[in-house]
Symmetry: C2
Subunit: 223 residues, 2 copies
């Protein structure tokens, strides 16, 4: 089964070069190319490639926006290609945006041709691949990050399921009445639960409870 690829780059030379390189592989078909993001997205919709090679900087619509549209398609569009981002030289902040958008890889154009070919195969297989410098940055960034909140703060274990539930609703900003309604309880019962939560966690009021919920990872910013 051959890998269907399209190339999106504003430089004709680059398109021609990559196309020649990839088309020479028995397992790779270049099924089209486009000169900017908008055309790229459109082409992808028609040609339904397995992999889209996407330059970052382009006129009309840049590679990031195009990638986002391909990877988070509007309702009705079922096709969802893998996206391999390419950049000419500098490893800038685009990387993060691209990865967040769901790109499967990020390569520098000055990488050896063999790497590009290998990358296409890797990406088509559902795996991911990054340029070494990008990998380094990503790892550094990852390591710097606090540690993925395996926290579930020890103290949180002291709470009963119900109490945890109430705590979470507090952390969502609900009033006692609202919590009572949500859980089908008397307001007083909610108060009782809250009282116990505050006592167990040595908190003064619901505001501190909200803080605790965030700090412990019970709830997380941005959903």
């Amino acid at each position: 089964m051959t890998i269907r690829v399209i190339i999106v780059d504003d430089q004709a030379m680059v398109r021609a070069g990559f196309a020649a390189l990839l088309a020479a592989q028995p397992d790779i078909d270049v099924v089209g190319d486009a000169a900017d993001g908008r055309q790229g997205v459109e082409l992808s919709r028609r040609a339904h490639p397995d992999v889209v090679l996407m330059d970052v900087r382009m006129p009309e619509m840049d590679g990031l926006e195009a990638a986002r549209r391909l990877l988070d398609p509007p309702p009705g569009v079922v096709h969802r290609p893998k996206v391999l981002m390419l950049t000419t030289f500098d490893v800038d902040d685009y990387v993060y945006e691209a990865l967040r958008a769901g790109a499967s890889g990020f390569l520098l154009k000055d990488a050896p041709p063999a790497d590009l070919i290998a990358a296409v195969r890797v990406v088509a297989a559902g795996e991911a691949l990054l340029a070494p410098s990008v990998t380094r940055r990503l790892i550094a960034d990852f390591a710097a990050r606090p540690a993925p909140r395996r926290n579930r703060s020890v103290r949180l274990n002291g709470l009963t399921p119900r109490e945890t539930e109430v705590l979470e609703l507090i952390a969502r900003g609900l009033s006692n009445q609202e919590i009572a309604a949500r859980l089908v309880l008397a307001e007083q019962t909610v108060k009782t639960h809250i009282g116990r939560v505050l006592a167990k966690l040595s908190l003064r009021d619901r505001a501190q409870a909200v803080i605790f919920a965030y700090e412990s990872g019970l709830v997380t910013p941005g959903e």
Copy 2:
């Protein structure tokens, strides 16, 4: 300038195989090998290699602990090699620990020999490299993460400096009295500020204010 490498793995066959493979490269010298983590660390201290190939699972001291010791050496030890982790097959949670410890790469042993050699060179050059499946997971993990909240939520701009200051103290869990004391104000003034904050942000009470502070990135979990 040749790359000095040591190999740490409990299987003699693996050590021999990798050593032969790498030693055949003109730019790579295998300057030693060890059968467990403890010996590996000791050897590294003596042989000061550029790159340490480290198996994850080993008796005595596993690769993760050994990597941590190499990458975060006790005072007095200046040498700090790059560490390239290897695992036999499964991509388990060790990956994250290894990366957090500061490893420069993570490869599967079933990777093509050429990849291993390339990886050693990449790592020696100060870059990083991961097995595609690891890369995929890392990206997925990265993308899942809230997004570095450079938000400073637009609405937050509507707040005056003083109001923002008060909001932050609320988000730290202080009471009105405490805030007044901290800012050398009358409690009533604090109330006034809070009232305006709540109004401007359409919040009901300080609990919701805390939520807003976290969601907007004004304050962040884990300091």
